[in-house]
Symmetry: D2
Subunit: 354 residues, 4 copies
């Protein structure tokens, strides 16, 4: 398997299966001299961890990160930052029900097709547990990026959709409720919906919106490595993501050029921001905002018909501790991936001019 | 500027500005022994070229490709394929109106911010003319990928949206009309709309849908380089693209897990295909389909207020030969980028097992 | 710091300082289905570890590797292989003598210049302790490469030089003595020399020769990534290496073409092998052999004048536990790096043809 | 074939066969704002071109470079620099004598093994003609690197070896004679030797030494991408190179640590320079110097026995216009590759600190 390294200068290499001894990673290319606030990293991990509230999986796992290198006397040294999160909650349960059976809309079948072998305990490498490593690296990237800020929030759960635009919402309210929607009324409705869905033994999708402020101009590389192209790849690499749009997005396709063009103010800022802070693949200094679509979690608490590795029809039982809706826990992951992309481009920008 | 190389094994490196002597590229990593049909390449270029119909820009440019290397006696040799398309239609017109002025929602401003210098003739490097090089490389990639097929079509122009799903449309009808919508009735409406928009001196957005058939299982690398993540990046790297979704996409966020899961048939195929042919980032053998959102072209035939490089307010005149709607010409570009992604993963797949 | 990832398909990312909690790495791109013999890995580590004999540093460190992922039921799964070696022998000694002083011909000064901060405990990241991670990965690569074999040996210590050519030596005798020279008489002389040098509180350089057998044709990529160019880079990346030559090497510069050309046998093998198994950057199926030059270790047991970070003249004391000659312990490192290069090219070769 | 892209930030992608219509390349990642002196580029090309003197191949080829993009009004714009050199001297001679025969110590056999197809006209892609593209890119890199200077010279032809060390030679005298040895007496001897060798219909090897001055500290990345490791790879990627050593090189292996350590002056410079300007893989500000070993050219003007693609014994005739000794023309190629490595690290250095 290739594909476990992200970034071109600020690089993250991750490892680990959901039921192995640990997951973790190595950050290569992190500049020296960044003062690292370890509490901030743990705070981000806590926003992602299972068991944090009544609407997420009730699996308990502390998700504490251990750093092995690259931070010395509170600062990054420029050397690789190695880290691990030990897996502490692997129940030695019987996995025989999925050992030879393919869970629908999971990666079991394609892993067997691709590799001819599969760690069948939990999702193995395809488990979203892997994203904890991204949160660690992303949290360090955020500290490098300051005063630039990255804030994601839940803007939709199933059919419930926040009406306010990203420029209207109060980002300081995101963490005030367990669903991470900055509108308290909508948040209550979303929470109720998720609880109802869970009772059905079902799951539901949703949308995470991300807003990035204090963005310098000039981030992003033209042609193939446009800023939004790399952000899109980063988001689409998160488990369960089905779509990405930035600025005016899919709705922008219905607009006319005369409506959609962002006219300039004299300081180079724009009167509107349909561009979502990115023009020609390069940040223009306006706020960046984008939406990330998450499908409903594939593991449901209902029995499903499926096949085993021989192609025989079998029934797979709905059991275990899983999320009824992934978006509340996806918020810090979206932020982390955005941070990794921006950290990379922040470094790359230094190489643009003579 | 970095960012002009695409792919990890099947690599395309492109160069060229809209008003320089030529654009072109180098393909490195193309396997040896592929019989190249040069007519197929030209056919794809002709589907992209300006002046091809009454609803695209009336600029005339033959867009003939010259190969310098890598093809010998009709076959690829495994060595790099260098090629160029000479620019023949650069009117020696006066560019003073945009030399120091920033066209709204174009890349002029950000290029100046990033590089401190800009080839102001036409869009320079940010011009979509660059995509002709992608079509050349993509067409070669298609010939490597056969019998896998890639077909894109226009599924929306502004508010006009094709109702049929990708599995319902007759792909053989795409090229039967100039807007490249496989439904002749909808095509007529789209053509009328584009003509009306053009008369207004305006532009309009649209959506291109792409369908890939005969896909082997196992394409795509887990975690960061998921198949849909690379497809998303590839599409978002095309000029004017604002969004990408695959399979159930943004609509899938409203679904429940019990509705959305694709149950297996005994041969490993699935009864439904909300996954869009990709599970866990890896192709499962079902058809791949995705949507690409294009914004309205920024250049309109109306005067607009803007600023010059000193921040003074100036008026920029709407003139020149431009597309009222980019999606008909974007169809072969979407196909080309999909082909480059799949060619890369086809090669990478060979390295998965011992 | 960038530069901690090696390889293009079979990729190793390493982390760790000599006096941090652990060193380790992540292998990304290792194919699935390789049966892993953990004893073989430990055996290679033992050949590199300190304290193994009377002519190496007497520091004792078990260097046991812990695998975190990527190996399941005895086989590689294709997912990343994360591993760590815990540092157990970091004496909590006082490092004040080198905290602000620059050891001559060490990396202390350049690290401070480059990063503005330095983990001054031991060599930090610049310590050769880092190479243990390479040995782990290289040992896995060897198991992937079998039946190809890689054997390195000591061919020179200071002025003592083995006369026999790589095709003449008996590779099975390498591990029969502690200096790892396959000629027992020469080995004795080398051991005596190293002991004498140690008594002087001094160090001495040497040469490691490597022989690779059962090489398939077609490894290596023309132009920039020639097989010997990547082998050269790999060797030169090992601490203390000053030079690399393959085949006829520097002596070949004195030869005439008529003497140096390797004439063919009818099966494509060659009558002589001045090419060292590589022609045009690609393996031709003959044995590959090359030499790697190691300078004398910079840490000597003699006091030296040097400067501190303010530029003041200070004396640095010769103390600690260090190698008088690095080549006996370098043998498995040379093999490991050769294995990583070859594993990469073995995978890459699969992408050459349609 | 992969392997035609060099560099991580300042990237060169080359294409072209010796007997195709053109060779050339694309530079991606060149910073904007570099004033380009086209005459300097042509001057470097002229130092490499065939027919320049009586001791090189008498093939006449002007080797004029055509730029397609990336340079505007005399400066680099930051966009990719596309260029081509048209092949003008391909005699339409009969290649049947090498079409199916493998020239000894050439790449013919391995190309057929690797790719199953080969452009048999001249060396095709394996011809050293490809290095002209490197010289173009290297010459641009030199202009970016100024006031750093790179000067290579011939230090050995066959057994004739310049005694003076790199710090002793007068670099301003290199171009005063056709063999490019800065010692006029030694140059005469070398020229005589090459002429004698040519009369024999034979060829001879040699050594090129390179000296880099005004080097900033901090170039090079620790561990795998050490400055000398990348320089070594760059040099070993040049046709006919068999070895690389820097600083004390292979002779350094015979030294003791007490003799070899470079003691500091108070300003951080060193009293001696056995390190060759590089410590721990990072430039320390002292002059960098290294040697590159070139084997005798494989094409000799004598008949040789060889095999054809069926394994039958055939005789290959010595004919054509070839170099009796490659080092005089290799001088600008060595400089170019050094420039590419240093340009890359100059950019990378900007990303080291916060």
């Amino acid at each position: 398997m290739s594909g476990n390294i992200f970034g071109s200068l600020f690089k993250l290499s991750t490892f680990g299966e959901s039921h192995g001894p640990s997951i973790g990673g190595v950050i290569d290319g992190c500049p020296s001299g960044i003062e690292i606030d370890l509490d901030e990293i743990q705070k981000d991990l806590d926003r992602r961890k299972p068991g944090q509230s009544s609407i997420v999986t009730q699996r308990k796992e502390p998700d504490e990160v251990n750093f092995f290198s690259g931070i010395f006397e509170g600062k990054t040294t420029g050397t690789p930052i190695g880290f691990a999160i030990y897996n502490t909650n692997q129940k030695s349960k019987d996995y025989s029900h999925i050992k030879n059976s393919y869970r629908p809309s999971h990666a079991d079948y394609v892993y067997d097709e691709k590799f001819g072998i599969r760690d069948y305990r939990g999702g193995g490498r395809s488990s979203a547990r892997e994203t904890a490593s991204r949160v660690v690296a992303g949290s360090i990237a955020k500290q490098f990026l300051a005063p630039l800020t990255i804030n994601a929030y839940v803007s939709a759960v199933g059919p419930l959709k926040l009406k306010s635009s990203p420029s209207e919402v109060d980002l300081s309210k995101i963490e005030e409720n367990i669903v991470r929607c900055p509108d308290s009324k909508m948040a209550s409705e979303m929470i109720s919906l998720i609880k109802r869905i869970r009772k059905e033994g079902n799951t539901i999708g949703g949308i995470v919106t991300c807003v990035i402020k204090n963005v310098p101009t000039g981030l992003g590389e033209p042609v193939f490595n446009k800023l939004h192209a790399e952000l899109g790849k980063a988001m689409l690499s998160i488990n369960a993501v089905k779509g990405f749009e930035y600025g005016s997005g899919f709705l922008g396709t219905q607009k006319k050029g005369s409506e959609h063009n962002d006219l300039f103010n004299s300081d180079g800022s724009t009167k509107t921001n349909y561009s979502g802070g990115i023009q020609g693949g390069i940040s223009n200094g306006m706020d960046i905002y984008f939406n990330v679509a998450f499908k409903p979690v594939a593991t449901i608490m209902q029995n499903q018909e499926t096949i085993n590795s021989k192609g025989d029809s079998v029934e797979i039982q709905g059991k275990g501790r899983h999320d009824p809706c992934v978006v509340p826990r996806a918020v810090p992951i979206v932020e982390a991936m955005a941070a990794l992309v921006l950290a990379d481009f922040k470094l790359l920008k230094r190489t643009n001019k003579i």
